[in-house]
């Protein structure tokens, strides 16, 4: 009996495997477990952030996006430019162009099973994306793209009509044809036996089944998937962890690769309090982009234990918190309050102490925004008009519109013989504590200038449902709506396009939910879209942001920061707003390691983040 107990104890203690520098591994804690990875390469099953983050280790794209947000070659020899003759434009009339991009795969790139990565893999990706009835998330992309393969290494991607966003990030991707082709042919045969119109749901289910055959935990553990990143999956312990080790066939390991982390383990700890315990208890080496909450990261419990053990970094992201404003004047409240009048929106923004808000609630670690474009984006305009906290100016602007303080200090004015009080509905997602606190802060600011706020929050499932979110025209929400957009790396200004205002005429399609249409803005945006000189596009965006900031279709608040707890000694576990296209760490997974073991620091998180004192 003693022997059995002893054995059990040894088993238990060995399970506490000495993590971190001791065994040259990295344990990353995340609060989400992706249901699938890798094989679902079109994101048909899932497009969660955590999936994209883990794939940074497992897959090397055609291009990579470096720490500065620039395209750099991934599995191709070089990034296509006009200078190297790999980009060609052809006029196809109506001011539109066809774009051809010539690319060459490196001759030393292999899947983890040793099979060379060839144009067959690119063609396979293209074929699956173009398959009949494939419910892709970006159908417009698949409608404009074409592919021509010259040989095993060379291929040409064509966009028609082309847009400048086609030059941002990789123009196409690839998938392992040698492992997925057979299953795909069977799936396609089954799809072809169905009616795409009447049996679209059956078609979609067949496709989902196909992807899960190479993406589910059981498929991954059965070794059905291969990898082209610096790491490969050894084992996916569903509900617990996912363990990766170095991919021996990766082309870009550092010369002294033994000095760098040999094993990466993602631990799935869904409850954020439990995750916090794991961090302060030292059970993990770093947190994922989907890790500790902002509130937890700035809590005294964490800060007290951080000294000498781990760094707390706050990396500004592309997640843009803002106030959308209902400007549909057919809605009585909107018309009464004059929300479609630029002066009203300017007054509200002047009334808000946004810097005070981020200082008070977020220790100044989430930067105030002045436009929807992120300051890290190459199209960001530094001199965009800004609205400082100026309650006096807010009162002046409101007075110009006939608002005068009533007996209780709340503004009133006469509209069509009626006395209207300035009572503004303020909606956000119920249960999102940082937003609700910010909402209270702003409500207080607004009361200072005589605007009474009527808080009307609801769960995210309600406020983001199509019946609510897109129905401002019908008065589903009548005032301000606080939520976040992602300020995309492939920024196109589409959010503010006149064509994308949801109304009954277009069956409430589009994201310009507040109803702002500026013809000048629209014309510049459309022209920029078919301009391929990115410096010119940046200039166009200066104009776009100036118009936008003058008219304020929405009120910019701040960009969210993602907190990371990183154990001291861990190097190159670095994130930035647009690194890898989506901002997830690490910038180059092959370089993650421990300085104690000789890993050399190439990227310093201090250059790209704010540190919590």
């Amino acid at each position: 009996m003693r022997k059995v107990i002893g054995f059990l104890l040894v088993s238990v203690l060995t399970s506490l495997a000495w993590a971190g520098p001791g065994d040259n591994s990295l344990i990353v804690a995340t609060s989400q477990e992706p249901p699938v990875v890798m094989g679902d390469f079109l994101n048909i099953l899932n497009n969660q952030a955590i999936k994209a983050e883990m794939q940074v280790y497992l897959f090397t794209g055609i291009y990579r996006v470096d720490i500065g947000g620039n395209n750099v070659p991934g599995v191709v020899t070089e990034v296509a430019t006009e200078e190297n003759g790999r980009l060609r434009f052809e006029d196809i009339g109506d001011g539109e162009q066809r774009l051809e991009i010539d690319l060459t795969l490196r001759d030393d790139v292999y899947w983890s099973d040793g099979t060379p990565i060839t144009t067959d893999d690119v063609a396979f990706y293209f074929e699956v994306g173009k398959a009949p009835g494939m419910p892709t998330l970006a159908p417009d992309y698949w409608e404009r793209i074409d592919l021509a393969v010259q040989d095993d290494r060379n291929f040409t991607v064509t966009f028609e009509p082309a847009q400048y966003v086609d030059l941002i990030g990789a123009p196409i991707s690839y998938a392992p044809a040698h492992v997925m082709r057979e299953e795909w042919d069977e799936t396609l045969a089954a799809v072809e036996a169905l009616d795409l119109e009447t049996e679209a749901d059956r078609v979609e289910e067949l496709y989902r089944g196909f992807f899960s055959e190479f993406a589910s935990p059981s498929a991954i553990n059965a070794g059905r998937m291969v990898y082209s990143g610096a790491f490969q999956i050894d084992r996916w312990n569903t509900g617990s962890s996912l363990v990766m080790s170095r991919n021996p066939n990766f082309f870009n390991h550092p010369e002294n690769q033994d000095a760098y982390a040999q094993r990466v383990e993602y631990q799935f700890i869904e409850d954020t309090n439990s995750l916090l315990v794991a961090v302060i208890g030292g059970a993990v080496d770093a947190t994922s982009a989907v890790g500790i909450t902002f509130d937890a990261a700035i809590s005294p419990q964490v800060a007290r234990r951080a000294e000498g053990r781990f760094n707390l970094w706050f990396v500004p992201t592309a997640i843009w918190e803002h106030l959308d404003i209902n400007k549909f004047e057919n809605v009585q409240t909107v018309a009464d309050l004059g929300l479609a009048d630029i002066r009203t929106r300017q007054a509200i923004l002047h009334a808000l102490d946004r810097q005070g808000l981020v200082d008070e609630l977020f220790d100044g670690l989430q930067p105030v925004s002045h436009t929807w474009v992120n300051p890290q984006h190459p199209f960001y305009y530094e001199d965009v008009p800004q609205y400082e906290h100026n309650p006096e100016r807010a009162r002046e602007l409101l007075a110009e519109m006939g608002w005068e303080p009533g007996a209780d200090g709340i503004l009133e004015r006469e509209v069509d013989g009626r006395t209207v009080r300035f009572e503004l509905e303020f909606v956000t997602t119920a249960g999102a504590a940082p937003r609700e606190r910010a909402q209270q802060f702003m409500a207080d600011d607004l009361r200072q200038v005589g605007i009474d706020v009527n808080i009307n929050n609801a769960p995210s499932g309600v406020v983001f449902s199509g019946e609510y979110f897109s129905r401002a025209y019908e008065g589903s929400w009548t005032g301000m709506f606080m939520f976040a957009w992602i300020s995309s790396f492939q920024e196109s200004g589409d959010l503010w396009a006149c064509d994308f205002i949801p109304t009954p005429e277009n069956n409430f399609t589009g994201q310009n939910i507040g109803n702002w249409c500026n013809e000048e803005f629209d014309a510049i945006r459309e022209q920029a879209l078919i301009t391929f000189d990115l410096e010119q596009v940046a200039q166009d965006f200066e104009e776009l942001q100036t118009i936008w900031a003058n008219e304020l279709p929405a009120l910019p608040l701040y960009f969210r920061s993602t907190p990371y707890a990183v154990r001291q000694g861990l190097v190159n576990y670095v994130a930035n707003t647009y690194v890898n296209g989506n901002g997830y760490p690490p910038v180059e997974p092959e370089l993650v390691g421990w300085s104690q073991n000789g890993a050399e620091m190439v990227y310093d998180q201090a250059d790209y983040a704010l540190e919590f004192d």
Partner: protein, 335 residues
């Protein structure tokens, strides 16, 4: 008896049909649909493209059409695939999640009973002793402590405080070791290692889950035992010279267990529901989290499979209870 069971099973069919209608309607009538997020993330989607996506997800049809389509496939044994995982919903619930839940809940139940019964009896036998007061105090602490608080405090104690202060081994933050018996069969881990890992990971979640039941069942056991021990037939047994041990543990204990058996019986369906809070705190992949996740992610096939399984279970456990009543009480006749 046979006719009774067949009749009850036949009666269950319309009941389950009704349950499936209600469950499907509630799931489908939640605000929003699975496409809301996709549409919001791509401002360039046109009306036609959105319509195509709706067709692909089967959302272009009214709820009743979608329900009967689902029902038509379900009665043929096809419960559809998980929207977010791509795997068959049946496999996900019955292969991936239910066994995990049963491991956690059954062990917790057994431990809770193993502690509650002797402690309750001991507390009753030593009524108003210091130990009785201590047990009573602990029981009140136990059932007035919220599960989420207890779980987090245990984690803090065994993952942070004790390892830091006394150098004790750090308990795992997650309650699930992520290994299966297949790993033993493939030689990835030894059988003893397998059980060791499971035991090590399960200590905290099992304690958290069993502590609450333990606390209340101890109190029930104590009061039940006290009630029985003061009955006339116990006094008669004593007056006839029966030894105190025999009186307590042969006569009193068996009779005092009846309310506990009822309580345990009532908690049986919850063995399959999972324990959402405990599962969440300890990142344990059980039924509770599966149901909540499927509802929040609008994974209808998984939600329907799990909830309908619980409906079937409720019907069957009612039937089982009625049958057992008959076996226990000969005055009950099935007709």
């Amino acid at each position: 008896m046979f006719n009774y069971i067949v009749r009850r099973l036949l009666q269950a069919v319309p009941l389950l049909f009704l349950a499936s209608v209600v469950i499907y309607s509630l799931v489908a009538l939640q605000p929003g649909d699975p496409l809301d997020d996709i549409i919001r993330e791509n401002p360039r989607l046109t009306q036609e493209q959105i319509a195509q996506l709706r067709r692909a997800h089967g959302l272009d049809q009214p709820i009743y059409v979608r329900y009967f389509r689902w029902l038509g496939r379900a009665v043929r044994g096809d419960l559809g695939r998980s929207r977010t995982r791509g795997v068959p919903a049946f496999d996900f619930i019955f292969r991936d999640r239910l066994p995990n839940t049963l491991i956690l809940t059954v062990i917790s139940l057994v431990i809770a009973l193993a502690v509650a019964i002797p402690v309750g009896v001991y507390s009753a036998v030593r009524q108003y002793s210091k130990l009785d007061y201590l047990v009573t105090f602990m029981a009140f602490v136990g059932f007035s402590t919220p599960v989420f608080f207890l779980g987090i405090m245990l984690l803090y104690l065994f993952v942070v405080l004790l390892p830091e202060s006394f150098g004790l081994p750090r308990f795992p933050v997650t309650g699930f070791p992520g290994i299966s018996w297949a790993d033993v069969q493939t030689g990835r881990i030894t059988a003893l290692g397998f059980f060791g890992q499971w035991a090590w990971h399960l200590i905290l979640p099992v304690f958290t889950l069993s502590a609450i039941s333990m606390a209340s069942w101890t109190r029930f056991m104590r009061s039940s035992f006290l009630e029985v021990i003061n009955q006339d037939y116990i006094r008669t047994a004593r007056s006839k010279g029966l030894g105190e041990q025999k009186v307590r543990y042969k006569h009193a204990l068996r009779n005092s267990l009846i309310p506990i058996v009822t309580l345990v019986g009532l908690s049986l369906p919850s063995l399959f529901n999972g324990a959402v809070i405990t599962e969440t705190i300890f990142s344990y992949p059980g039924m509770g989290r599966a149901i909540i996740d499927s509802l929040t992610r609008k994974d209808y096939n998984v939600a329907m499979t799990a909830l309908l399984f619980l409906a079937v279970l409720t019907v069957l456990s009612n039937l089982l209870a009625d049958i057992v009543y008959g076996l226990v009480d000969p005055r009950i006749r099935y007709n």
